[in-house]
């Protein structure tokens, strides 16, 4: 791995985002607007906002980074820039780490902003530390990026790539415990939820929201999230081929 290439790639990805102010605005503002929407939709039952508000701070970056990465990587494949990079002295890990760096920066910005809006303006209560919420939001963004990178290999067009969101992320949103506590689901679904990474994202953030002590479960969730990210990145790296048919 080469720090020079990683930094150059991260900078290039951020330049591409900066050149697209509308995407940038959507990335940063939409999660804030949705948090506000949830607060006022559950005006009559404020405990719902208190329960899902913090986990959503982390789930938004997961979804947006999944979408941005899968489209960005699909473009690298279809426009031939990936093939060009593969003929150059660049390790696959350099490319992945460069994307990771750029999106970690974006995710931090996104998470800080949405935490500020939710906690500062909308009155969301966090028993644990708010910086820890941001840390988990960044971990989730990394997971979203890694999943997007891997799944983009199976899309030939941007239409298909966009459809992977409802296909792969929506079931996880339904099963992670956000809508219904997992022990109240049909038993097979509860068991299935243990296999889905977003479950651990939700669990970790609700624990941070509910308690000021960082429990062993929070650490375990963090390890599982990082493990799932590493696994998807490894699978994603395997889909980057120097030689193609």
């Amino acid at each position: 791995m080469s720090p020079r290439v990683v930094l150059a790639t991260g900078r290039r990805v951020l330049l591409q985002l900066r050149g697209d102010p509308r995407t940038l605005a959507l990335l940063l503002l939409v999660p804030c607007v949705l948090e506000a929407l949830i607060k006022w939709v559950f005006e009559g039952t404020p405990e719902v906002f208190q329960r899902v508000g913090v986990p959503l701070v982390g789930i938004f970056p997961l979804i947006s980074m999944f979408l941005v990465t899968s489209i960005a990587m699909l473009r690298e494949r279809t426009t031939g820039t990936l093939e060009r990079l593969m003929t150059m002295p660049l390790a696959k890990l350099d490319l992945l780490a460069g994307y990771g760096l750029a999106f970690a920066a974006m995710a931090t910005l996104q998470a800080v902003l949405v935490s500020f809006v939710a906690v500062g303006l909308l009155g969301l209560e966090v028993a644990g530390s708010t910086p820890l919420v941001v840390v988990f939001a960044v971990l989730n963004a990394m997971l979203g990026m890694a999943l997007g990178l891997f799944l983009s290999a199976f899309a030939r067009t941007e239409f298909q790539a966009v459809q992977f969101m409802p296909a792969f992320l929506l079931p996880q949103i339904l099963l992670c415990g956000l809508l219904v506590p997992r022990d109240q689901m049909a038993r097979p679904l509860e068991l299935l939820s243990y296999l889905l990474p977003m479950t651990y994202a939700y669990d970790a953030l609700s624990r941070v929201a509910a308690s000021s002590t960082v429990t062993a479960e929070v650490w375990r969730d963090a390890v599982i999230l990082i493990g799932a990210t590493a696994l998807s990145l490894a699978l994603g790296a395997a889909t980057l081929r120097r030689r193609t048919a």
Binding site: R4, V5, L7, A8, T9, R11, R12, L15, Q16, G19, D20, T79, G80, T81, E83, R84, L85, M86, T87, M88, P89, L90, R242, R243, T244, A245
Partner: protein, 239 residues
């Protein structure tokens, strides 16, 4: 030509794409420090042959050696410049931002960016997003990228498609300048008149090589006045 002069050596190369045999046992050599034109109609396998040379093509069998190493070897990654038919650059970045990025990946010195931009005559539009440039300008950004590392071998897939004749002339003068400085160039085209600017000619048709020789020799042997006529005679003789 002697084997030691060959920058590229291809032996019995077979490539299948999408269940079809695109190259059926092709052998050829490309001499170092010269401009070799790879000519033939669209769909004859030129791009596949070039992809095999730069090492991005999965091959069924055969051997391709480039600058003494198997094609696609990690040691070749700074020595071989490759320009695909579609401009492989980031459309949402400017030409300069594209070149800055690729220069860092290639570990090329910073001043190469300005030199490459100047060599393809793009200084005036270097700070506009590539997506807002014309097709010919995009192709030149892609070409400038391949020049960054001062490669010993340049593989150019139809680099002059859609360019006006003045610019085409300038680019070919640039290719000649590079060859004089020792760079080996392999340039594909389906426009036969470009062949008359090459030192050596490889003529392809239907996944096979019809002829691979010095241009003068090809013309003398076929009694043609140009490469187009030589191609027609070779095809006529074969049928």
């Amino acid at each position: 030509m002697a084997v030691s002069d060959a920058a590229i050596s291809i032996r019995d190369l077979v490539v299948d794409r999408g269940g079809h045999r695109v190259l059926g046992g092709v052998s050829a050599e490309v001499a170092a420090g010269r401009i070799t034109g790879l000519l033939g109609p669209s769909g004859c396998g030129k791009s596949t042959l070039m992809r095999s040379i730069v090492g991005v093509q999965i091959v069924a069998s055969g051997q391709v050696d480039v600058l003494g190493l198997p094609a696609g070897s990690p040691g070749l990654r700074s020595d071989v410049g490759y320009v695909t038919q579609a401009p492989s650059v980031y459309l949402d970045l400017t030409a300069r931002q594209n070149l800055d990025y690729f220069a860092r990946v290639l570990d090329a010195p910073d001043q190469r960016v300005a030199e490459s931009i100047a060599s393809v005559d793009l200084a005036d539009s270097a700070d506009r997003p590539v997506g807002s440039l014309s097709g010919g300008q995009r192709a030149r950004v892609s070409l400038a990228t391949a020049l960054l590392s001062r490669p010993r071998l340049l593989v150019l897939d139809e680099p002059t498609v859609g360019l006006d004749p003045v610019l085409r002339g300038e680019l070919w003068a640039g290719f000649r300048h590079l060859a004089d400085a020792g760079t080996t160039l392999l340039v594909s085209s389906h426009v036969m008149d470009e062949a008359d600017r090459c030192d050596d000619i490889v003529l392809m048709r239907d996944g096979a090589i019809l002829a691979a020789k010095q241009r003068e020799q090809l013309l003398a042997e076929t009694g043609a006045d140009g490469v187009e006529q030589a191609f027609l005679r070779l095809v006529g003789a074969g049928s």
